[in-house]
């Protein structure tokens, strides 16, 4: 919109100069529908996701629901084991029954639901600009068939986010894989939030706190800070 004092735009001048014609033609230089569709696909579920503020309270609710579900599963399991003489199959200590099945169905490359060894040592908290460290030791991340190897940055994190409910260990592996593959990725903040939540769900509070501190230092004023504070309260 022009204000009264604004000079006439070259494209609006009469007669229009050649420079004005070129500038007018520049407004027609827009991407194709296919290019926009690819961009939308790369942004993935972020486009239709609720705002970070809404996600923060939802994440908190999910954490609480996960804890409640896990507790209920333990109580039911304990009750059943008292009534039956045969022992139950061991179950993953972090997985709620319903969400585990759903998440497992959605994750073709996910390791088996049986408890798997945790990564022996996790790299230091990710900070943009610093080179990403490879996970050390013979972690389960290395023993799996490189889950999500060919995925794009956003797809990799989406898979990690979906794995949070049923398999936080797998979600953490994917988040760490993201850090290795995309050390300067545009979704670094989102990756850290997932990793912190995964660590918290596995009751690795010390590492979660450490990573949360790294997040606060690396991304001061981040819109995700509230979510990090809820997941890993100081």
């Amino acid at each position: 919109m022009s204000m009264p004092d604004d000079p006439e735009r070259l494209a609006d001048a009469t007669p229009r100069s050649r420079v004005g014609e070129l500038l007018a033609s520049a407004t027609r230089d827009v991407p194709s529908d296919a290019q926009l569709a690819r961009l939308a696909a790369n942004l993935g579920p972020m486009l239709d996701a609720p705002s970070p503020a809404a996600t923060a309270s939802k994440a908190s609710l999910l954490v609480k629901l996960g804890i409640a579900t896990g507790t209920l599963a333990l109580l039911v399991g304990a009750g059943l084991s008292l009534r039956r003489s045969t022992p139950l199959e061991p179950t993953s200590p972090t997985a709620g029954p319903a969400v585990t099945t759903k998440a497992a169905n959605e994750l073709p490359a996910q390791p088996a639901a049986a408890p798997s060894p945790e990564p022996v040592a996790q790299p230091a908290p990710a900070i943009d600009g610093a080179p990403a460290a490879e996970p050390t030791g013979t972690s389960s991340a290395k023993s799996t068939s490189q889950p999500g190897k060919a995925l794009s940055e956003s797809a990799l994190l989406e898979q990690a986010r979906r794995a949070l409910n049923g398999s936080p260990n797998y979600a953490l592996q994917l988040a760490n894989q993201h850090r290795t593959r995309f050390p300067h990725g545009v979704l670094s903040q989102e990756r850290e939030v997932i990793a912190i939540e995964a660590l918290r769900r596995m009751h690795r509070s010390g590492e979660a706190d450490q990573r949360a501190t790294g997040f606060s230092k690396a991304f001061p004023g981040s819109a995700h800070q509230r979510m990090v504070d809820e997941v890993a309260p100081k």
Binding site: M1, R28, S32, M46, D48
Partner: protein, 172 residues
């Protein structure tokens, strides 16, 4: 701004993505880098949307992010230099097919014309002459005094005209 009034990222994308893309191109972002940078703009928009308070118009806020993303990108050491479109880029055929701008020569000429400007002047020209912002909005987006924006526009016009005439003279 309340959450109810705040537009969704989807709505912002649908209404503005093509213009953000176009602006990045006119700011000198190479064709190959434009999709990534456009994605980066929307990731930042998503991150900051909850703190957008509506003190400025959404479009002004959005273009402010776009300008800064482009500016930061140009400062990265690995950034490829924009080359004149001596050969149609891969996407050009796709663009021709869908037809929003089938004139590759004209696109190339626009890029040549804008390339004579330094970053500050180029930003003013793109925002005012192409994207249709008022000079007050341009100054707001660029976080500079209004008079500075006017000066840059004036100088940019003179430079473009000189470069255009010089090229025409050389050709004739």
């Amino acid at each position: 701004m309340s959450d109810e009034l705040r537009p969704s990222l989807r709505k912002i994308f649908d209404e503005h993505a093509r213009y953000i893309w176009r602006t990045l191109r006119h700011l000198g972002i190479p064709e190959a880098d434009t999709p990534d940078l456009c994605q980066e703009v929307f990731v930042i928009v998503n991150r900051r949307l909850s703190s957008f308070e509506g003190r400025s118009a959404l479009r002004t806020w959005l273009y402010g992010i776009c300008i800064r993303v482009a500016s930061e990108h140009r400062r990265r050491p690995h950034v490829r230099k924009e080359l004149p479109l001596s050969e149609p880029p891969q996407d050009a055929f796709e663009q021709n097919a869908s037809g929003p701008n089938s004139n590759l020569e004209q696109r190339s000429a626009v890029q040549h014309l804008l390339a004579v400007l330094d970053e500050d002047k180029r930003q003013v020209v793109v925002l005012y002459e192409i994207e249709g912002f008022s000079m007050k909005e341009v100054a707001e987006i660029l976080e500079c005094p209004l008079q500075t924006a006017y000066s840059r526009l004036h100088a940019a016009r003179a430079l473009m005209l000189t470069a255009f005439n010089a090229e025409n003279e050389a050709e004739s």
